[in-house]
Amino acid sequence: MNDIITTACKFVTSSIGRKILVALTGSCLLLFLVGHLAGNMTIFGGNVAEGETSWINYYATGLHSMPAWLLWSIRLGLLAVALVHVVLTLVLKYENYNARTHYQKEGTLKATLSSRTMVITGIMILCFAVFHLWQLTFNGDPHDCYNHIIHAFQDPLCSIFYIVAICCLFMHVRHGLQSVLQTFGLATRKVRPLYNIVAVLFGLVVCGGFIAIPVCVMLGILK
C-alpha cells in the first residue's frame, strides 16, 4: 500500500506524470466537447409552434430532469476534470517559465502558433466557459432554451465573443489532440502527420459546429 501511495505522489509531482494527467483530463474535455456539440446541434431542429417542444428544448429539459444527484455528479466531475487540467497546466507553465532564461532574439523552427499559445487560448476558453455557464446554463428556462439562445446571439457583441472564443478552442484542440497521443506514448514518426490531420479535422468539425449557431443566428437562418 505504501508503495502505491509513494509512487502515486511521485507520479503526480513528476513532469511526465503531470503531463499525463493533463492529457487525461484533456481527453475527457475533448469527449465532453463531442457530447456538447451533439446536443447543440439539436438547435437546427428549428423552432416550433406554441405548445409543442422543439428538439433543443426537449434536450435541455431532458438534461434538467435527470435526478439531481446524477446531474450534479456529472457537473462536479466535469468541474474537477477542468480544475485539474487548468491548475496543472498553470503550475507547469509557472515552472517552465522559471526553467527558462530568455533570448534577446527569439527564434522558432517548428513549434506551431497553437502549441506556443496553449496557455493563452486556454485562459480565453476558461473565461468563455464561465460566461457561457452564467449566460446559458444557469440563466434562462430550459423549457424555452431555443428562444433564449436565439435572443442571446442576436446581440452581435455576444456572437463575436463566442466566435473568437471558439477559434481559441480550435487552436487549443488542434495542438491538444495530437499532443495527448504523444503524451500517452502512442505517436511515432510515421503516424504523427496523420494525428495532425485528425486533430485539425476534429477541431474543424467541433468548432465549425459550435460557430455555426451564432453565425446562423446572425444571418437570420435561425430565428
Binding site: F11, K19, L92, E95, N96, A99, T101, K110, A111, Q178
Partner: protein, 255 residues
C-alpha cells in the same frame, strides 16, 4: 568563393555574476567557405590585436561529434540547419547580414562566461541511470545474444545524441526530454538494457525533474533544432515507459 561583411550582435558577460549585455561587432572579409567558429576565430584574433578580450565560446572537435560547441544563432541553437555550430558554414549567410549570437540559455545551464554555459546537468541525468550496470570483464561472448538489426539500428538512432543540449536551449520550456528520452530509449530498446529498464526510467526522469529543467509540452522544437536528427518518438517512448515503470513500482506489474 566570396567574402562576407557581417554585423554580429554577441552576448558578452564577464563572469557568472556579472551583468551581461549584447555587444555589436563588425566581421569583415569572412570567406564563405569558413565555418561559423572560424568566423569567430577571425573576429577574436582582431579583438586580441586591439587588446580586447576575445569572445569566449565552447568548442573542441570541430567536426560535429563531440557536442561541445553551442551558440544560439538568430534565436535558434546551432543556427537551425540540422548541423552543429562547428559544421555551420558561412555560405549559409548573406553579405551584410546581422547575426545574433547568444549562449544556450536555460536555468539548468548556468552561464560561465560570454557564450559558455555549464551543461553538467546532462551528465547528472546519465549518472542517475543512463547506463547498463555491467562490470568490466564479466561480459559473455558478443555473439551469444543476437539482436534484431531493426532494433539495433533504432537503438543506434537514439544513441547518436551528442549531448550538446540544443534540445534544452531550443525548448520554449527548457525541458531536457529529448536528451533524456534518447539515452533511455537507446538502452531500453536493447536486450542488454532490459533488466534495468524500469529502474533506469524512473531514476532518469526523477533526476531530470530535480535538476530544474522545464516540462515538455510537445512543441517538437527540440527535434527541429537537434543537429543529429534525434526523433521525438523517443519522448513518446519515454512517456510510455514511465507509465509502465510507475505501474511496476506501485503494483508490481510489468516488471
Amino acid at each position: 568563393m566570396a567574402n562576407l561583411n557581417l554585423t554580429l550582435k554577441v552576448w558578452r558577460q564577464a563572469s557568472p555574476e556579472a551583468q551581461g549585455r549584447i555587444e555589436t561587432y563588425k566581421a569583415k572579409n569572412i570567406p564563405d567557405e569558413a565555418s561559423f567558429l572560424e568566423m569567430l576565430d577571425i573576429v577574436n584574433e582582431e579583438l586580441v590585436h586591439e587588446g580586447k578580450e576575445p569572445i569566449h565560446f565552447d568548442h573542441d572537435c570541430r567536426e560535429g561529434i563531440c557536442g561541445m560547441c553551442s551558440l544560439t544563432i538568430n534565436g535558434v541553437p546551432h543556427g537551425g540547419k540540422k548541423v552543429t555550430t562547428c559544421q555551420l558554414h558561412m555560405r549559409q549567410f548573406k553579405d551584410g547580414d546581422t547575426i545574433w549570437i547568444e549562449p544556450f540559455r536555460a536555468a539548468a545551464f548556468p552561464l560561465l562566461r560570454d557564450l559558455v554555459v555549464d551543461r553538467t546537468a546532462l551528465d547528472n541525468i546519465i549518472a542517475a541511470g543512463g547506463f547498463v550496470d555491467v562490470r568490466t570483464g564479466a561480459a559473455p561472448n558478443a555473439n551469444n545474444m543476437p539482436i534484431r538489426k531493426k532494433t539495433s539500428d533504432a537503438a543506434f538512432d537514439a544513441a547518436a545524441c551528442i549531448g550538446c543540449g540544443a534540445c534544452v536551449a531550443s525548448c520554449k520550456n527548457s525541458a531536457a526530454m529529448l536528451f533524456t528520452s534518447a539515452k533511455a530509449a537507446h538502452l531500453n530498446l536493447l536486450p542488454q538494457g532490459h533488466p534495468e529498464k524500469n529502474k533506469r526510467v524512473l531514476a532518469m526522469v526523477r533526476q531530470m525533474d530535480a535538476l530544474g529543467f522545464g516540462n515538455c509540452t510537445n512543441l517538437y522544437e527540440c527535434e527541429a533544432a537537434c543537429p543529429k536528427g534525434i526523433s521525438v518518438d523517443n519522448i513518446a517512448k519515454l512517456n510510455r515507459d514511465y507509465m509502465l515503470a510507475c505501474a511496476s513500482e506501485a503494483f508490481g506489474v510489468f516488471s
